[in-house]
Every structure is written in structure tokens, then in C-alpha cells.
């Protein structure tokens, strides 16, 4: 290996060899299917249906996301941090900054282009698609998506978590462009003209980002928060000793992760609510904006969960000796993090709940919402409408908290393969949800689904109970939780299920809805298994 270009190629190939093997196997399988269709009587889908979705759309999208993660070094850095996620070990290589930037971008672009061309040529495209499958622009869109992701993630930011916001806004814009192009049936020439100039632009931004990171030119505005902390300290608020070890650990968790969700919400919320001023004449848009606002804390919580589920402070998932040697049980360490998530979710909603009515009043859209609320109250009755609203709000707050903590049981294991594998599985699941729902509604499976719903929920509940029993036994055997704590946890969970069941009974007091179905829903809705597995995961990581 005598050239930097070959060394870069070798490093990517070696590090991601299993991924490339899987991608090659998938494209080969696609080629075999196409070959069989040409030479035998194998029938391929003629419409945009579930078969095509699972054969091409789902694997293709997953492959694109994987390539983006691989060529941005996304699995190596801290996305929520301020520093560039470009690996610092490469800054000392005797090559120019242009080479440091260009080779990963070029290799990534080549892989994305090959993925698209292979899919375009080999995949069995249905004949009756709404538009003719273009040759160039979808691939070019993939290149643009990759290039901007590289530029955004390699840049350093003045504040923590800013990268997440910029990534969400930037990549959503590119995705919106693709949806618009399909809806408006844009020509290939127009799309190429719109997309192609972005590639050199993204390269220049990425090169500038790497150059700044390489010489350590990183603007740090987090000192603002530190000054506030120092001012509080001077006023004596930070000098009081902690009441106990649990309180000290909670303080550490809050300082490390707790503030990030309310901060993100505070950044995104005003932008969303400003849209209300533009929607005074479009009632439907008002409700769309309100739905987006309501979903903002849970969605942002799932981003902050990436950091929250880590065992230590660094980029590594392994628990640091500093944390591992705290004289505190693994259950108490997890408990402090769960409490931090409760306060973080509450702080985020404390921002949202008053901001929405204020924005509605100031933007003169309050009457639209009030009219709809009165209409609903007229149909179901005022108490039930208020109860339903309160249930939705409580569900959203609980979901925000759940999003932050539900993957703790994976992250705290510290096993990188398990964590990344579960992430990829979740990505596949998210991509597959759309086609699955479409299939359920358009095929005969819908009837089967409803008939089997009771059984499905029953099996889920039985499996959860079995798992919960096993986890409780392990917690008891490994002395991670006392008998009293285990009993208190079980009693709390039962009380929560009973409360949810009572609310559901009151809200859906109709003979159409069987009571045992409501009980099953209440049992599934209240989290238990994954949360109780978190101390086991941390203990597995802490005592290897």
C-alpha cells in the first residue's frame, strides 16, 4: 500500500467488510431474481406493492443509511457533542486537508452511486409506477444526502446538541426536495441542475470544517452555561452538600444529560409555533402544526436517548472506572438516570404547555382550536373530552420519558455489537413499518389481523410477564435490588396498570370494546420489562 488513497480505501473496506459483504450479497440476490424472471416463468410485481417494497425499497433505504453512517464516521463520534466527529487520529496523517476530506467523500459517493445504478439496472421495477424511474437524479439525491451529512457532521459547533438540530433541519430539507420532485414529476434535467451544484458546495463546507477541526479552531459558547453555573455557585446555591449519594448521582446525571432535551425543545419550538402566523386561513394546517409541536418532545427525546443510554461520559459505551467504582449499586445508578429523565421530560413539557396557548392567542388561531374543541365536547360530552385531552397529554409526556430511557437496557450493556445491531434492526423496522401498514390495509391480512389482535396482545402480555419474572429473579439472585424494592416496583406497576385501565374503561364505555382488550392494552402500555432490565445490563457492563 503505497498511496494515501489506497490506505483510505483499505481502512473503509476493512472496517466495514461485513457490511460490504452483506450489500454485495443483496445486490447479487437481486440480480439472480431478475435473471430468473427473464429466463423462467417467475412473476415479478407489476405494481408498487409490498413485495416490491420488501425486495427493493426497504433494503435499498437501509443500505443507503448504512453507507451514510459508514462514510461520515457516524459510529465513531458523539453526534450530540460539539466536536467534529471526523476521527482525530487522522489529523496527524501526512496528507493535505483536501485529501482528508476528499477521499472519504469520493469513496462514499462511489458506493452510493453504485448502489443506485445497480438497483436501477437490476431491480425488478414495477411497470405501472406514477413516474418513469429516472436514471440519474435519485442517485444524485443520495450523493447530495451523503455529502451534506458529511459536511454537517464533520463541522464543530459552538454548543452541544446543535449538530442534531442542524442535521435534522438540513436532511429533512433534502428529503422534502425528493418528495416534491416525485409529486410534481420534475424532469431529470431540472433535478440534475438543482442537485449537481450542491456536491462541490458540500465538499467546500466539509473541507472547511475538517481544516478548522484539524487545527483545533473550535468556537465554544458553552461557557455561557458555565458562567451561569459559576454565578449560582457564587450565590451559594451550588455549595450545599448533597443529602445522600443518590442525590449526588442525580445531580451528575442532570448536568451530563438532563438539560439537553429542554434546550433542544426551546430551540425548535419557537420555529414551529411561528408557522401558526402563516396558517390563520388554513384550519387544517393549524392542527398539523399542533400535531408536530406535540410530537416534538418525544422525537427529540429519541435523539437525546443516544447519549443518555451510554454508560460513561466518553464516546465509548463501556462503563468508565470513575462511574464503576462509585460505592452505589447498579440499581441506584440506573434509578438516578431514570429520575433525571423524568425531570428532563417534565422541563421540556413545561416549555411546550404554556407556549402553545400563548402562540394560538397571539396568532389569532385560538378560535379555530376552540371551535373544534367545542365540537368534540358536543359529541362526547365535556368531561369525556377533557379526560381524553388529559390522557393524550399524559401519554405524550410519558412517551417523551420512555423515548429517553427505553433503550437503556441495551446501551448500558456496553456491548457495541449489540447496541449497533439493535440500532440497525430498529432502522429496518422503521423503514418496514410503512409497507407493512399498507399491506395490512390493502390485503386480506387486515381481517386476519383484527381477528388475531386479541391473541397477539395476549401473547405479548404473556411474553412480557415471563420476561419480567425472569428479570425479577435475576435482580434478586444478583442482589441488585432488595426484596422490598422489587415488591414496591411490582406494586407501583400494578397500580399504574389499574389506573390506565380505569381511564380506558371510562373513556371507551361501549359494548363494542371488550374489557379484557382494554386490560391487555393497559398492561402493554405501562413500561416494565425494559426498565427493570436496565440494572442487569449495567451490572453486566460494570462487572465484566
Amino acid at each position: 500500500m503505497r498511496s494515501p488513497a489506497a490506505a483510505f480505501a483499505w481502512a473503509f473496506g476493512r472496517r466495514h467488510r461485513f457490511g460490504f459483504l452483506a450489500l454485495g450479497a443483496y445486490l447479487s440476490a437481486l440480480g439472480v431474481v431478475r435473471f430468473l424472471a427473464l429466463t423462467t416463468e417467475l412473476r415479478l410485481p407489476t405494481e408498487w406493492d409490498v413485495g416490491f417494497a420488501f425486495l427493493v425499497v426497504v433494503p435499498g433505504t437501509v443500505a443507503l443509511y448504512w453507507l451514510i453512517i459508514a462514510f461520515t464516521f457516524g459510529s465513531e463520534g458523539n453526534l450530540a457533542g460539539r466536536q467534529s466527529i471526523y476521527p482525530p487520529r487522522q489529523y496527524t496523517l501526512p496528507v493535505t486537508t483536501t485529501a482528508l476530506t476528499a477521499w472519504p467523500m469520493l469513496y462514499g459517493a462511489a458506493c452510493v452511486a453504485l448502489l443506485w445504478l445497480a438497483t436501477r439496472i437490476v431491480a425488478p421495477w414495477p411497470v405501472n409506477l406514477p413516474i418513469a424511474v429516472p436514471l440519474l437524479w435519485p442517485g444524485l439525491l443520495g450523493l447530495v444526502l451523503l455529502a451534506w451529512t458529511q459536511a454537517i457532521t464533520w463541522a464543530s459547533y459552538p454548543l452541544p446538541a446543535m449538530r442534531v438540530v442542524v442535521t435534522v433541519v438540513g436532511l429533512t430539507s433534502v428529503q422534502v426536495l425528493s418528495v416534491l420532485a416525485i409529486e410534481l414529476q420534475a424532469s431529470e434535467t431540472l433535478m440534475v441542475a438543482l442537485l449537481a451544484p450542491q456536491l462541490p458546495l458540500a465538499f467546500l463546507v466539509a473541507r472547511h470544517a475538517v481544516a478548522r477541526a484539524r487545527c483545533g479552531a473550535v468556537t465554544d459558547r458553552s461557557a455561557v452555561f458555565e458562567r451561569i453555573g459559576a454565578a449560582l455557585a457564587r450565590r451559594g446555591l451550588n455549595h450545599k452538600p448533597f443529602a445522600n449519594a443518590g442525590a449526588a448521582q442525580f445531580w451528575l446525571e442532570w448536568k451530563r444529560y438532563g438539560w439537553s432535551l429542554p434546550t433542544l425543545v426551546a430551540i425548535v419550538l419557537p420555529v414551529e409555533l411561528l408557522l401558526l402566523w402563516a396558517s390563520r386561513d388554513a384550519p387544517a394546517l393549524v392542527f398539523t402544526i399542533l400535531a408536530i409541536v406535540a410530537l416534538t418532545p418525544p422525537c427529540l427525546a429519541s435523539f437525546t436517548a443516544i447519549a443518555v443510554r451510554k454508560s460513561g461520559a466518553g464516546d465509548d459505551y463501556g462503563v468508565s472506572p470513575f462511574t464503576a467504582t462509585r460505592p452505589l449499586s447498579s440499581a441506584a445508578l440506573v434509578g438516578a438516570r431514570l429520575r433525571m429523565a423524568v425531570w428532563s421530560a417534565a422541563a421540556a413539557w413545561v416549555l411546550v404547555i404554556p407556549a402553545v396557548p400563548i402562540a394560538l392567542l397571539l396568532s389569532d388561531t385560538w378560535p379555530i382550536v376552540a371551535d373544534r374543541a367545542r365540537a368534540v365536547a358536543g359529541v362526547v360530552g365535556t368531561p369525556r373530552a377533557i379526560g381524553f385531552g388529559a390522557l393524550v397529554l399524559a401519554t405524550l409526556i410519558l412517551t417523551t420519558w420512555r423515548q429517553m430511557v427505553q433503550s437503556l437496557y441495551l446501551g448500558l450493556t456496553g456491548r457495541t455489537g449489540l447496541i449497533r445491531g439493535s440500532g440497525l434492526a430498529m432502522l429496518c423496522g422503521i423503514v418496514a413499518v410503512g409497507p407493512l401498514v399498507e399491506w395490512a390495509w390493502t390485503s386480506g391480512a387486515r381481517a386476519w389481523f383484527w381477528v388475531g389482535l386479541f391473541w397477539t396482545l395476549g401473547i405479548i402480555v404473556a411474553a412480557r410477564m415471563l420476561l419480567a419474572s425472569w428479570i425479577a429473579m435475576r435482580l434478586h439472585r444478583d442482589r441488585l435490588m432488595s426484596d422490598r424494592s422489587l415488591l414496591a416496583g411490582a406494586a407501583l406497576w400494578l397500580a399504574a396498570v389499574a389506573a390506565v385501565y380505569a381511564v380506558l374503561l371510562w373513556l371507551f364505555a361501549t359494548p363494542i370494546m371488550p374489557r379484557f382488550l382494554l386490560l391487555l392494552i393497559a398492561t402493554v402500555a405501562v413500561p416494565f420489562v425494559r426498565l427493570s432490565a436496565a440494572p442487569l445490563a449495567l451490572a453486566w457492563n460494570r462487572h465484566r
Binding site: F242, F322, T325, R326, P327, H543
Partner: protein
């Protein structure tokens, strides 16, 4: 003899194909300074991680104060002070916050002693850990390892990469700790002169096996040439089988 502070029985550990510890048995009474000596990769940190309960004994048993540190981490760790070679203190904390946070975990925390150490080490309480030099970070780590007056002080390569002044501070802290009757110090090092200076009892490890575990005076007595005691450096190289003189420069 009093109950041993640390007791390892037939402890073995493998990481993949590599044997990190091979049938290690040690029984260490309290009130002694133990120096664990070995080359890089000999198994020093693996022993320390077992003592702290960060590694579960795959084969054999580990007891600290008569307890399994994995099964009873709170009871064991609340009596142990630990300074890590990695020095992984939270970078965002100030020195004052680090002291305030750590204090909450130890009922035996001594505020006066912590303040005395902080002043002696010249650390500003408002300074962020990330802004400290490597030596200052080691001193900050030492304050939180010592201020609760632990019964067992565990130091993993405490002087690694530090200048002589910081090394002197650390060795001074070790001496102060043993000044209190009944306290035990267990420290690993590859700096043989440092071990020779402070340790009462030397343990030499190579490729996961304990080659020697004896009081330093006994080691000196046993290894003599022409009536002169050999240095620990010479004893170490004789046992491990490596040349005592440095390799020639290429």
C-alpha cells in the same frame, strides 16, 4: 494473623486467546504497602480490576475485606480509595464540584483533610478538570481517593507519565495513608525504583503469573551477590528473564 484485606484464590482470566491471569493466589494482610511490579501487559491492571469488582472472577475467587466485590460493590467500594491510570474524571466538572460530588458517597469523608490536600496541591476549586494539566488531574484524583480516609488505597500506575514533582506528591500521599494504623496501600507500577522506595512488600507478575510475593527486606536478603543485596531492578530482570541493561539503539 489478621484477616487479609485482599484474598485472591486460583484466579485465572483469559481475554480471547490471551491468558491475562494464570492461577493467581495472593493473601494480603492489612497495614502494609504492596507494590505490584510487572512489564506492560503482565496482568497488573487485570488484578486491580478484579479487586475493584470491575471484572468478575471467571475462575477462582476474589475477596476484599472478606466480601465478593462483584456481589457487594457498595460495601467494598465505600472502604476503598482508587486512583485510575486512565484518570477519567468528568472533564466538565470543576475541582470544587468533583469534591462536593464525591463527598456524598463516603460517610467517612473528612472535609478538613480534603481542603488540606487541595491547598497542598495548589488546585483552584473553580478550575475545570478539562483545563488541568495531566499532573493536576492526578492530584485531583488523589484528593477524592484519599479524603474519605479509605482502609484500602488502590493506585493503578499512579506515576505513569507524570513529572517528578507530581510523583513526589503521590508517594507522599501513600506515606501519609500508611501513617494511619491499619490502612493498606496496593499500587502497581513498572517504575522499580519507586516501588523500592515505598513498598514494604513486593509482588512481581509476568505473563499473568505471580513470580514472587514477599516482603522487600526478605527479597533483599534472599538475593545477594558477594554479600551485597541486589537492586529490585536486578531481581525483577533475573526472575522475568529479560536483560537488565537497556537494549542497544538501532
Amino acid at each position: 494473623m489478621a484477616d487479609p484485606v485482599i484474598q485472591l484464590s486460583s484466579l485465572s482470566r483469559r481475554f480471547g486467546q490471551k491468558t491475562a491471569l494464570d492461577d493467581v493466589t495472593l493473601s494480603l494482610p492489612r497495614g502494609v504497602v504492596y507494590g505490584l511490579v510487572g512489564a506492560n501487559g503482565a496482568g497488573k491492571t487485570t488484578i486491580i480490576r478484579h479487586i475493584l469488582g470491575l471484572l468478575r472472577a471467571a475462575s477462582g475467587t476474589v475477596r476484599v475485606f472478606g466480601m465478593d466485590p462483584v456481589a457487594e460493590p457498595v460495601a467494598v467500594l465505600s472502604r476503598v480509595g482508587y486512583l485510575s491510570e486512565e484518570n477519567d474524571l468528568p472533564a466538565w466538572m470543576s475541582v470544587g464540584e468533583l469534591i462536593r460530588y464525591t463527598r456524598a458517597f463516603y460517610p467517612t469523608w473528612d472535609d478538613g483533610y480534603a481542603e488540606e490536600l487541595r491547598r497542598a496541591f495548589g488546585l483552584d476549586p473553580s478550575a475545570r478538570i478539562r483545563d488541568l494539566s495531566r499532573g493536576q488531574k492526578a492530584r485531583a484524583g488523589l484528593i477524592v481517593a484519599l479524603a474519605h480516609r479509605p482502609e484500602l488505597l488502590v493506585l493503578d500506575e499512579p506515576s505513569s507519565g507524570l513529572d517528578p514533582i507530581v510523583r513526589r506528591d503521590i508517594l507522599g500521599a501513600v506515606l501519609r495513608t500508611i501513617a494511619h494504623e491499619g490502612r493498606t496501600v496496593f499500587f502497581s507500577s513498572h517504575l522499580l525504583d519507586e516501588v523500592e522506595e515505598v513498598a514494604d512488600h513486593v509482588i512481581i507478575i509476568s505473563e499473568g503469573r505471580i513470580l514472587l510475593s514477599a516482603p522487600l527486606a526478605e527479597v533483599r536478603e534472599r538475593h545477594r551477590v558477594d554479600g551485597e543485596s541486589l537492586s529490585l531492578d536486578a531481581v525483577f530482570h533475573a526472575l522475568v528473564g529479560t536483560p537488565a541493561s537497556p537494549l542497544p539503539l538501532g
